[in-house]
């Protein structure tokens, strides 16, 4: 197929009798940030859940680097290189910071790199160095972290999985403005330094478009616009209608 890192084709999914996604298609090139925008209930979270296998698709395809992951259970999708930081971060508060991080590095796929115990420990140590606020409290339960720190922990844990595709669901939700900037900076750094393909769901459309390459706007479970980030940000009518700024 194409050279897309992530390709979603005509995806339909829902809960019980409700279709939350109807015929959603998008492709993301390697090492790009795609921001998914849309009002509350548009289907953004459902899109990420369907890609990562938490929700079974009713129709359509999910391909990662041309591997077909459609309908596979979440643990298989994770092991194929898709890391999903869910809405509300999903940090396990009862486990220590370090245990959360170790969980991230537990299911590496065999891709030629060292996957031994020492390599995992080194990766966890490196994450602690990179995020000193986490490193300082590595042996404390994650419950002691602030909201912003938990979001960082969730992202750090996702990165430890050595993903090819990173799905982020509203990482800035509920954070103070300073923490929002920190998270957004981190996301754009990740793309630059590691060739990661990122699918970012955000309410904060302006901030997200500023760091994204491409934008996709969802409304009521369908794609109403796909364009490069600059074009979307400049489209005043679309912004008013769907993004509310």
């Amino acid at each position: 197929m194409s050279s897309a890192a992530l390709s979603v084709g005509s995806l339909a999914a829902g809960y019980g009798g409700v279709l939350a996604l109807k015929d959603v298609s998008l492709t993301a090139a390697p090492a790009t940030i795609t921001v998914v925008l849309g009002a509350n209930g548009a289907g953004k979270t459902t899109l990420l859940r369907t890609v990562s296998g938490l929700v079974r698709p009713r129709a359509g395809r999910v391909l990662v680097d041309d591997t077909d992951l459609t309908g596979r259970p979440p643990e298989d999708v994770a092991r194929a290189g898709v890391a999903h930081v869910p809405e509300g971060h999903g940090v396990i508060a009862e486990l220590t910071v370090e245990e959360n991080l170790r969980l991230g590095a537990m299911s590496w796929r065999r891709d030629g790199r060292n996957t031994g115990r020492a390599a995992r420990a080194a990766a966890v140590a490196a994450a602690c160095d990179r995020f000193p606020n986490l490193g300082r409290r590595r042996h404390k339960p994650a419950a002691v972290l602030s909201g912003g720190e938990r979001q960082l922990l969730a992202i750090a844990r996702a990165l430890l999985a050595r993903p090819r595709v990173l799905l982020l669901d509203e990482p800035s939700l509920g954070l103070a403005p300073r923490a929002v900037r920190q998270v957004m900076e981190l996301i754009s750094q990740l793309r630059a330094e590691s060739g990661l393909t990122i699918l970012l769901v955000e309410q904060n459309a302006r901030g997200a478009l500023a760091i994204a390459d491409q934008g996709v706007v969802l409304s009521l479970g369908t794609v109403v616009a796909t364009a490069d980030a600059g074009t979307l940000a400049a489209d005043v009518a679309l912004r008013h209608h769907y993004l509310g700024y």
């Binding site: 990562s52 643990e75 994770a78 999903g90 508060a93 486990l95 969980l103 999985a161």
Partner: protein
């Protein structure tokens, strides 16, 4: 005073067995939110297997080891065959399945081994220990019972804490959805949890049967006491289960000793009712971290 000491010591010995059953129930509850009503029956069955092996080989320890291994295998098998289909379904489905398993296992034991009471050997002498001239009301086998359960609990705690499998088990217990997103094969983790629970149940059967005799229903009351102990401990906490078992054992021993042994089952029910009414989250609720 001596009486009090005797009741306390023998209460701790019985309590250790309740603790083992409670721990097994908690392991299953944490992973699958299922109360395994067949836990006692499975332990009864593995104890019959132990008895067969002891008779065949003449070695108590061979029977002991085979029963523990059988507990592991039965626990895993139960999860894979009958529990897997009802995981994530309405809780009543699982209740029905585990009660069905209880009936099935006890029925099978009745068919294979008959209903008569059989005596089951102890690993060590059951003659009473003495401090000077005073009998302590317990034997070396009681000491072994307590040490075996504490060792199993400590091994489990260390495994939870220091191994990757233990981390997977805990992560799954706290948040299975997140664990799966991190690549944890939750199905295997649950199988492991049931297997370990089966092993603990088998241990409880081996330790209690010298004092209760062995028959198809012999573990029913032990299951109820183990469940009560688990509830005292909060159902979710392995440490609470062990503490709950010891507390219950001692309380029941006082009730039986001072009020009459025919009152022991009633005392157990009263304690269960009191805990469910006044501390439904267990005696230690609030000490632990909140579940998210």
């Amino acid at each position: 005073m001596l009486e009090f000491l005797q009741f306390t010591l023998s209460g701790i010995s019985f309590g250790a067995v309740y603790a083992a059953v409670a721990l097994s129930l908690v392991l299953i509850w944490r992973g699958t939110r299922i109360l395994n009503f067949a836990q006692g029956a499975m332990a009864m069955f593995t104890t019959y297997i132990a008895l067969e092996v002891i008779r065949g080989t003449g070695s108590y320890w061979a029977g002991f080891a085979v029963a523990l291994a059988a507990g592991l295998v039965f626990g895993a098998l139960a999860e894979v065959t009958v529990i897997r289909p009802v995981e994530g379904k309405p809780p009543l489905n699982a209740v029905i399945v585990t009660i069905g398993l209880l009936v099935l296992v006890e029925g099978l034991a009745g068919i294979i081994y008959g209903g008569q009471y059989r005596s089951f050997p102890a690993a060590f002498t059951v003659t009473g220990l003495r401090a000077g001239r005073s009998p302590l009301g317990i034997s070396w086998f009681d000491v072994f019972t307590v040490l075996a359960v504490l060792a199993a609990a400590a091994a489990l705690a260390a495994g939870f804490r220091y191994t990757t499998a233990g981390l997977r088990l805990r992560a799954t217990a706290f948040d299975a959805r997140i664990a799966r997103l991190l690549g944890v094969r939750v199905g295997r983790v649950l199988t492991l949890g049931w297997a370990l629970a089966g092993l603990l149940g088998a241990l409880a059967g081996l330790l209690i049967s010298p004092s209760t005799f062995l028959y198809p229903n012999s573990m029913d009351s032990i299951f109820v006491f183990g469940f009560t102990a688990a509830v005292i401990g909060g159902l979710d906490s392995p440490a609470g289960a062990v503490a709950g078992g010891l507390i219950l054992g001692v309380l029941l021993s006082y009730a039986g000793g001072y009020l009459g042994s025919e009152l022991t089952p009633l005392a157990g029910l009263v304690i269960l009712a009191l805990v469910l009414t006044f501390r439904p989250d267990g005696l230690f609720a609030g000490v632990r971290l909140r579940r998210v």
